[in-house]
């Protein structure tokens, strides 16, 4: 009797197991498509393999790719993620700086202006800086038009004007890349020696760089913050230039996938670059008293130099002597 019950239990268990297996296996069997069957539909093949293969006779093998699945991910990136990254990076930086300005205000020259100016940047240095900066601003505006133009500008100016502007912006973006690249190369060579990180920079960061708190740590010609800006310009400038030229010259060593990757890298790095340069422009203008004069006229006030770049000032005084160092703004020989 016990044997019979045990046998029945085993049979019922086996039946349940068979039913479960049949239920799980049924959808898998139903999804399988024979790709060589005469009546197979393309849609079924797409769903099954995510691609359709065949033979092409046109010499240009690039034309064989009728639908590229990676293109959907690329489109999703530059239509959805890219605007979000750009918005958060740039607006976030502006809001951050606004809050900082409201809390900290302009960093003043504590000892006041001495009335004596010293040469900070030569005419050639300022020429290179402004050539790169002007190209950067124009390329940022024309580049952001690609990401934000359809949403921000098109509804305001209409399709005809937007089309004309976008075409001109595209050409400007392309041709400005050459002086911009030259500027980045010159900046790299011109200021490399002064931008090698050292122990002074570590101490400068530890003491808040004179920006956070009232401390004024010593610095050579370029402080830790300026060195970060330098390397951001050199590295991100190199990345955006390289990825941009890959896009300017299609299929010169790249494929469609390579260009999609280049576009994503170009756009992402560029918006981060813009956000970083907004901070640079802030500290060089309204963020710090006397800072713009360095790039505007080439000279800075002696007390400004003592406050922000005391080690550089000592070096300069040792090199040329106090008489050779001090120059009046009207007699700047930098140009």
């Amino acid at each position: 009797m016990a044997m019979m019950v045990s046998t029945r239990i085993r049979l019922v268990a086996a039946a349940i197991a068979f039913l479960v297996l049949a239920t799980v296996a049924a959808p898998v069997t139903a999804q399988q498509v024979n790709p060589t069957a005469d009546a197979v539909k393309e849609q079924q093949l797409l769903e099954q393999f995510k691609r359709i293969q065949g033979l092409g006779t046109i010499p240009d093998i690039k034309s064989y790719t009728i639908e590229q699945p990676q293109g959907r991910q690329w489109r999703q990136y530059h239509e959805v993620y890219m605007p979000w990254i750009g918005t958060i990076a740039m607006l976030g930086m502006i809001v951050l700086l606004l809050v900082f300005f409201l809390v900290r205000g302009m960093i003043r020259i504590k000892a006041g202006r001495s009335g004596v100016n010293i040469v900070r940047f030569t005419g050639f240095e300022r020429f290179v800086h402004w050539m790169t900066a002007t190209c950067f601003i124009l390329m940022a505006l024309t580049g952001l038009n690609i990401t934000f133009g359809k949403v921000a500008l098109l509804p305001l100016i209409g399709p005809s004007a937007f089309s004309t502007w976008s075409l001109a912006a595209k050409y400007a973006h392309n041709f400005l890349s050459f002086p911009f690249t030259l500027g980045v190369i010159l900046i790299f060579c011109m200021w490399l020696a002064g931008n090698i990180p050292n122990k002074v920079d570590v101490a400068w960061f530890k003491r808040g760089g004179g920006i956070v708190g009232g401390d004024e740590p010593p610095a050579y010609r370029f402080n830790g913050g300026q060195k970060i800006v330098y390397w951001v310009v050199v590295l991100t400038g190199t990345i955006v230039a390289t990825s941009g030229y890959l896009l300017m010259f299609p299929f010169y060593g790249t494929t469609i996938v390579g260009m999609q990757l280049a576009q994503m890298v170009h756009g992402t790095i560029a918006v981060l670059f813009v956000a970083a340069m907004i901070a640079h422009a802030y500290i060089g203008t309204i963020g710090m008293e006397g800072a713009f004069e360095a790039m505007g006229e080439g000279t800075v006030d002696l007390n400004w130099a003592k406050q922000h770049h005391s080690l550089w000032l000592e070096e300069e005084q040792a090199r040329v002597g106090p008489a050779g160092l001090e120059r009046q703004p009207s007699a700047t020989p930098a140009e």
């Binding site: 046109i58 010499p59 240009d60 690039k62 034309s63 005419g123 300022r126 020429f127 290179v128 800086h129 402004w130 050539m131 002007t134 190209c135 050409y171 392309n174 041709f175 400005l176 890349s177 050459f178 002086p179 030259l182 300017m248 010259f249 299609p250 299929f251 505007g296 080439g298 140009e335």
Partner: protein, 88 residues
């Protein structure tokens, strides 16, 4: 200010140089993204298939008006070279 103006001048000069450089390297997108096997040769005609004489681009040919195409096989345009005839 002088450094900035000089920088602007340099941008214009280098940018213009870039324009000519890029134009010498790039092709129109209609050409760049297709090959000769996929392009339509507008100078091709059935009549040219039987003629071995090469068509040179240096000669200027009269452009036919749309109505002229109706009589293209019957007329011989005046002062037109043989090269132009085979190209149409």
């Amino acid at each position: 200010m002088r450094a900035f103006l000089l920088a602007c001048l340099a941008i214009v000069i280098i940018g213009a140089g870039g324009y000519f450089f890029v134009n010498s390297m790039q092709e129109p997108s209609g050409v760049a993204y297709t090959t000769t096997g996929a392009r339509i040769n507008t100078s091709w005609a059935w009549r040219s298939t039987g003629i071995k004489e090469p068509v040179t681009a240096s000669e200027e040919c009269d452009m036919r008006k749309p109505w002229g195409w109706i009589f293209v096989d019957f007329g011989k345009p005046r002062r037109e070279s043989a090269v132009c005839r085979i190209s149409q």
